[in-house]
């Protein structure tokens, strides 16, 4: 049933969906090119998503303290990607990263400095030399978000609209012409007409029970792209951050906070026997923190499986050998926040375990950030390909800058030549957002928790055919319980209704991840199959995902630019 309800119609040249680093860079660049921009976010502008959660590292070949070149950064990126990187995208990140990092420096983000005034670069796992810039103490994400937000506020071409939930991309004659959604503050349906649409919605960590990002990383962009007709790639590769905080309970801190501690102080990762174990799994960690995320995750979970995990089900991380003065000098105010939580690192180890952190897969784009749908662009973590089967630490913020800027520029150029501003809104485009239905009594927030549980157990770091098939059955069951229309009526901050839209997105994305994982009968990077434990050269290929009607269709595509990999 539909009732008479106000509909808001907006018009712009470029619509950017999502206001993390990638979305804000895209909006800034499109505005600079003279395009009118609407920067929309389901939450607060510049505070939502994963950027603000970044604790420390941003990888970039500045060579400010150790000689470096983008070819070395690229070689490390491709090696971490386990032969699956789209080398042209990876190359963009490495080549153009320095320009954006220096731009942020000019904008006074506050990169940590050496005594001689040069930008400080830390050594992070998977890198052959110190390459990661950061803002102390654990403030990289907030500083980046604040700096970009400050620039966006000054860019007159950009109109910022927060609390705007986008439900679908409008597609007319195969071309993206805007989006539909609703205003969270009052529930009103919204139609946005745009000559170009940029997806900058980040990843899908919310699909998993334990994750390191925010509650709005539901994979929105992947579902939007699929329903618009665009192609996704590498959806089976979900990165688990190996040492997410597990115990004791700690509030007011992000669970990935131990990463900076390990960069600066090393730390010892121990099993229940209080023995270091990471090197038992073919790694060579000796005093420094250098084992890549996929391998560290594998080592920790293997120990847990073997019955040598910590009481809460992870590993111990100890800094007990580090003097209190050194801890204080390295992390100042953070030490006080830990004390307020009853944690004294000189006296006790803490417990850590892998948590969902980042998505390597995503929207398939070319080097101009064009998707397979004309008028639709994508950037940041929402993109797939640049990181292959495993992302090198520090590359996420860098790719957000680079891909965001390129997407903004391409979208503004497209908007200049596009003539679709008068495209009619397709019939039925507002059916979902204006629907009024009786509340069926289903607790969709509970179903989301069920899905997160299923994904954690069956589509986590270790996978089997049996588990993946169980996940598909659970997803199908949840789809039936979701139904065709959202519960209730449009209204102010109706979270029960919001849950329905999120579950709709999450089920589609979860199915894309699970089906891709089922097809990859090997173990590579972040995708580990217990039933196919070895890497198989026959799988040096991308799995692609498209939607045909309501059905997910999987395909294969060759890995581009492998010669670059060999050169590097």
């Amino acid at each position: 049933m539909a009732v008479a309800i106000d509909v808001v119609q907006l018009e712009t040249d470029v619509l950017v969906i999502g206001s993390g680093a990638a979305g804000m860079m895209a909006a800034l660049e499109a505005g600079k090119e003279g395009a009118g921009v609407i920067l929309a976010d389901r939450s607060l502008i510049g505070r939502s998503g994963a950027t603000i959660m970044a604790q420390m590292t941003v990888a970039v070949a500045l060579g400010s303290q150790t000689p470096d070149g983008c070819e070395h950064h690229l070689a490390d990126t491709l090696a971490a990607g386990r032969e699956l990187c789209d080398a042209s995208l990876a190359q963009l990140v490495c080549e153009e990263g320095p320009r954006d990092i220096l731009q942020l420096d000019e904008w006074k983000v506050g990169w940590a400095r050496n005594d001689d005034g040069s930008i400080r670069q830390a050594l992070a796992p998977g890198h052959d030399r110190p390459r990661c810039v950061y803002v102390d103490f654990l403030s990289t994400g907030p500083a980046v978000a604040k700096t970009l937000r400050g620039r966006v506020l000054r860019q007159k071409e950009v109109t910022r609209i927060g609390d705007l939930y986008i439900t679908d991309i409008l597609v007319t004659g195969g071309v993206a012409t805007g989006a539909t959604g609703f205003s969270l503050a009052d529930g009103r349906p919204v139609v946005l007409k745009a000559k170009a649409v940029v997806i900058a919605t980040g990843g899908l960590t919310r699909l998993y029970q334990r994750n390191s990002a925010s509650a709005n990383m539901s994979g929105d962009g992947y579902a939007l792209a699929l329903r618009a007709g665009a192609e996704l790639t590498d959806m089976e590769f979900v990165q688990f951050f190996p040492i997410g905080h597990l115990a004791p309970r700690l509030v007011g801190m992000d669970p990935i906070m131990w990463d900076p501690f390990r960069y600066k102080l090393g730390g010892r990762l121990l099993n229940a026997e209080m023995r270091e174990f990471v090197n038992d799994y073919g790694n060579e960690e000796a005093g420094t923190y250098n084992v890549t995320r996929d391998r560290a995750t594998f080592a920790i979970l293997s120990e847990v499986k073997a019955g040598r995990g910590s009481p809460a089900g992870g590993a111990f991380l100890s800094f007990q050998h580090i003097p209190a003065e050194t801890l204080r000098a390295s992390f100042g105010p953070v030490i006080d926040r830990l004390a307020a939580n009853g944690i004294d690192l000189t006296q006790m180890p803490i417990e850590v375990a892998p948590i969902a952190h980042y998505h390597m897969g995503g929207v398939k784009v070319d080097a101009q950030m064009r998707t397979s749908v004309p008028g639709l662009f994508s950037c940041g973590e929402a993109n797939g390909g640049a990181n292959g089967a495993n992302r090198l630490s520090g590359n996420a913020i860098t790719e957000a800058f680079v891909f965001g800027r390129i997407a903004g520029r391409t979208a503004s150029l497209h908007a200049r030549s596009a003539g679709n501003a008068d495209a009619p809104v397709p019939a039925g485009a507002l059916d979902l957002v204006s629907a009024v239905t009786p509340d069926g009594g289903e607790i969709h927030a509970g179903l989301i928790a069920d899905l997160q549980q299923t994904m954690a157990v069956n589509v986590g770091p270790f996978r089997t055919e049996e588990g993946l098939r169980q996940a598909l059955a659970a997803i199908a069951d949840l789809k039936t319980r979701l139904g065709a229309l959202p519960p209730g009526a449009p209204g102010p901050y109706n979270m029960a209704r919001l849950d329905w839209f999120d579950l709709r997105t999450m089920l589609l994305v979860a199915e894309a991840v699970t089906r891709s994982a089922l097809l990859r009968k090997e173990s590579r990077g972040a995708h580990q199959r217990d039933d196919f434990p070895a890497m198989d050269p026959a799988f040096v290929l991308h799995h692609t995902v498209k939607l045909a009607g309501d059905d997910i269709v999987l395909g294969r595509a060759p890995v581009e630019g492998r010669t670059l990999c060999e050169v590097a």
Binding site: A4, R249, D254, P492
Partner: protein, 124 residues
């Protein structure tokens, strides 16, 4: 016996009469008030609206409410095994339950409409 916290939560939106809902949630030491509210939404009553983006990091700053009469972040205020009274911020426009209008005025839909980017029309 398992300890519980009792959350007494102000409910409703502008077009309704204000009321409270009372929820019993399991308590373990160290948990936050937001943990309790998330338990309610997942297990007891998903119509309860409380906004947050991050869950634990205290970076998004969206979960500011009134806990026992004092302004606090739900993600850092500790859950306690007793009755706790939770209300929306009193100095912001009330939207629903614990949610208030916290977006800066020039980042709201109304502002975009006033800037001439669009219009509100009567829908079908």
């Amino acid at each position: 016996m398992r300890e519980t916290a009792t959350l007494i939560v102000r409910r409703g939106h502008a077009d309704e009469e204000s009321r409270t809902s009372t929820y019993e949630v399991p308590y373990t030491p160290g948990q936050s008030v937001l943990d309790g509210l998330r338990f309610v939404r997942t297990n007891l009553d998903s119509t309860l609206s409380v906004r947050h983006s991050c869950i634990n990091a205290n970076t998004c700053k969206e979960c500011m409410i009134i806990v026992d009469g004092k302004v606090d972040y739900a993600c850092t205020a500790r859950l306690e095994p007793r009755e706790m009274v939770l209300e929306p911020l009193s100095n912001k426009a009330h939207l629903r339950d614990l949610v208030t209008e916290i977006a800066p005025p020039d980042e709201r839909l109304e502002h975009a409409l006033k800037s001439g980017l669009g219009k509100a029309v009567a829908g079908a």
